[in-house]
């Protein structure tokens, strides 16, 4: 009994350590955002700002068009998430349910495509988009985000499709449902958590993305939030730390809010699937 208790305590301690590890950067960002330059230069930093100030937020908004950049990020991220999910869902179903040489090759290609480094594709991509007149346009950037998110979205959704027992579809067929009816009324609801998770993945990837946005967007009114955040960093990596932390803190909020709203649905769906199996 004592051994079981100590094991449990050990587990909770490990979990707590992991949580602290995960939360540390965000909490430090939060703390920095409310500190004055003098406090930021202190030899003995504190978690709780001694003289909390909103000056960093004021300065961040004064210096850079944060709201406009956030709107651009939101348009690109939501657009990318929706389109990626719409394309990936039927493709993932085919990849998971119809095993053939073609689907195996497609799966292999999905894996291989993840291995290409960004710098390898950026110049050809730039030239392609230039020919399509999609440079300096959020539509072009959204398109890139869709393509960039698609392989992993496919991979992820195919896993969710495989977790839905094929017997359920057979039962629906026995009950007289056609293929389309089965997909829409039986498979799609069971896939909802997977679709949500995939959409969230695509959203967060696009929301945080920096390099494509930096290279593809030319004018200030098109720039996204991650690009605008770098404007607080100067030569030799010297940063305007307070405003940068304030802006970065605000930039992380949408991802946190979206995740907080739908996380129960994701985990709930996963658990449901587990029980059924």
């Amino acid at each position: 009994m004592r051994a079981r208790t100590s094991t449990r305590v050990g587990r909770y301690a490990a979990l707590l350590a992991y949580l602290v590890f995960l939360a540390f950067p965000f909490l430090w960002l939060l703390s920095t955002a409310f500190k004055s330059p003098r406090e930021l230069g202190s030899l003995h930093p504190t978690w709780i700002p001694r003289h909390p100030t909103l000056d960093n937020f004021r300065q961040a908004f004064d210096e850079q068009p944060l709201l406009h950049a956030a709107l651009n990020s939101l348009l690109a991220a939501v657009g990318a998430a929706v389109i990626a999910v719409v394309i990936a869902t039927p493709l993932a179903y085919v990849m998971a349910r119809h095993r053939s040489a073609l689907t195996r090759a497609a799966t292999g290609w999905v894996v291989v495509s993840q291995a290409f480094p960004l710098v390898l594709v950026i110049i050809p991509l730039f030239l392609v988009l230039k020919n399509l007149r999609l440079i300096n346009s959020l539509a072009g950037l959204t398109l890139v985000y869709v393509v960039w998110a698609l392989p992993f979205a496919l991979w992820m959704l195919a896993g969710y499709v495989r977790a839905v027992p094929a017997e359920i579809e057979e039962a629906a067929a026995v009950d007289g449902a056609g293929r389309l009816r089965t997909l829409v009324s039986v498979v799609a609801p069971l896939l909802a958590p997977g679709i949500t998770a995939t959409g969230l993945f695509a959203f967060v990837t696009a929301w945080n993305e920096f390099f494509f946005a930096l290279v593809l967007l030319k004018t200030p009114e098109k720039q996204t939030l991650p690009v605008v955040l770098t404007h607080f960093i100067g030569a030799e990596g010297v940063a305007d730390l307070g405003p940068l932390a304030a802006a970065a803190f605000l930039a992380t909020l949408p991802s946190l809010v979206v995740f907080a709203l739908i996380q129960r649905r994701i985990t709930g769906g996963m658990l449901t699937g587990a029980v059924k199996n």
Partner: protein
């Protein structure tokens, strides 16, 4: 469910439609120039934007569009823009980043474009920083010497001689004083904290004061590396301070300049060698009543000479409006405007008339000390040497880091810098 899918598709299309926008350009015969600025500090951004506004108000036929760039990623971003033919017309960068773009034919040769006033206002030694081959590919306009920022109270209490640009410390004197300051400070206190996250540029630029050139161009135009006695003065001083005298903090050797400031304010270090523009952070962050001062870097056989890589303004070779872009540069870099830009960035202007401005000669915040160093600033060694970035990253940075930390000795440092370094350079000079 089907209607939900249709709704999703419609939403996606609507978002895409909403996202689409045309690229900027000229219209109605009015020329539009895109000026990508890397200004990032509030005062500097304001100064740049104000100047653009003033230009636009006085030049209705040539509109300048201010585009905010970032130092963090400027090289990659420019490279892609050049390759794709979408580069801004006017480009803000630093002279040590221009070599590849100049040799690659992406930047316009400014020799025939700039007015005589601007050419004669900026001294030849500054033009050399942006000269690659026979052409000039950028206007050097802001520069920053490396200075020593000191805890004035600590120095006063120790009774050491305070150096001036007229009577600077020599390198041996600097070592002695650092030792004196360190031993008088108590446990955990150091005479100096060298922030050497980027050890190569700091070492090479300061080595010019001792006559260390390191890179030597032969009669055939090929560059080779030699690590002679003059090249060793600065590295040996830093190494000995950190490893023999223990008067330099070992922990800051891998830090950036900003990282050393809390320790400096907290009384751990008497002095920190920093770029001149760090004064802005010091003014912002120093605790109330903290007394600090700017001192010149130590002098060697060549006096106070230092290498710098000034900030530059270039014109893209692909720009269809080079003449107009040059006219804008002429406006932006008029002496008064250059002073505004320099004050905004807490740096020194390169223009000789701007350097005479009284605002740059006040004792406040060390402006006068920095301005007195302007005449001693030269082109940073090797910035026009092809293969330098690879030598710096693969050979010199790890070699200097290991030497300063005491992991290797001077002989091994020389072997790596010279033998390994010349192999790297040879590949670029075949």
């Amino acid at each position: 469910m089907r209607s939900r899918t249709i709704c999703l598709l419609a939403l996606a299309l609507a978002l895409l439609a909403g996202c689409t926008g045309g690229a900027g350009g000229s219209a109605n015969g009015r020329i539009t120039l895109r000026f990508q600025s890397l200004a990032w500090q509030q005062e500097s951004v304001e100064a740049n934007k104000e100047l653009v506004k003033e230009w636009n108000a006085s030049h209705p036929g040539i509109k300048v569009e201010y585009v905010q760039g970032s130092w963090d990623s400027v090289h990659d971003q420019l490279l892609t823009s050049f390759e794709g033919g979408e580069a801004p017309d006017i480009i803000h960068d630093a002279s040590d980043d221009l070599a590849d773009f100049a040799y690659g034919g992406y930047l316009a040769d400014l020799r025939g474009l700039l007015p005589a006033r601007l050419k004669s206002d900026i001294p030849q030694r500054s033009w050399e920083t942006a000269t690659f081959g026979d052409g000039i590919y950028g206007v050097p306009f802001l520069q920053e010497p490396r200075v020593i920022v000191a805890n004035a109270t600590w120095l006063k209490d120790s009774g050491v001689r305070i150096p001036t640009p007229e009577r600077p410390w020599s390198w041996p004197e600097f070592r002695n004083i650092t030792r004196q300051l360190g031993s008088g400070g108590g446990k955990g206190k150091y005479g100096v904290a060298w922030p050497l996250k980027e050890p190569v540029s700091a070492t090479l630029n300061l080595s010019l004061s001792a006559g260390g050139e390191l890179f030597h161009r032969g009669a055939d135009g090929k560059v080779t590396i030699r690590f002679g006695a003059a090249d060793q003065v600065v590295p040996r001083t830093i190494h000995d301070q950190a490893n023999i005298d223990h008067s330099a903090s070992p922990t800051t050797l891998g830090s950036g300049g900003s990282d050393t400031l809390p320790g400096f304010f907290g009384g751990k270090y008497a002095m920190v060698p920093l770029g001149f523009s760090y004064r802005q952070q010091i003014v912002q962050q120093a605790p109330k009543g903290f007394d600090w001062q700017v001192l010149p870097a130590p002098a060697g056989a060549d006096g106070l000479t230092q290498g710098v890589s000034p900030q530059t303004l270039s014109i893209a070779e692909d720009s269809p409006h080079k003449k107009e872009a040059a006219a804008f540069l002429d406006f932006l870099l008029r002496p008064k405007n250059m002073v505004r830009l320099a004050l905004g960035d807490w740096m020194l202007p390169t223009g000789s008339r701007a350097l005479r401005d009284p605002a740059l000669h006040t004792a406040e915040d060390g402006w006068a000390t920095g301005t007195a160093l302007a005449a001693h600033l030269r082109s940073a060694p090797a910035q026009s040497v092809r293969g330098y970035p690879e030598w710096k990253d693969k050979v010199a940075t790890p070699a200097f880091q290991e030497y300063y930390s005491g992991a290797i000795g001077l002989a091994e440092l020389r072997r790596r810098l010279v033998k390994d370094g010349n192999l790297v350079l040879a590949r670029y000079q075949r």
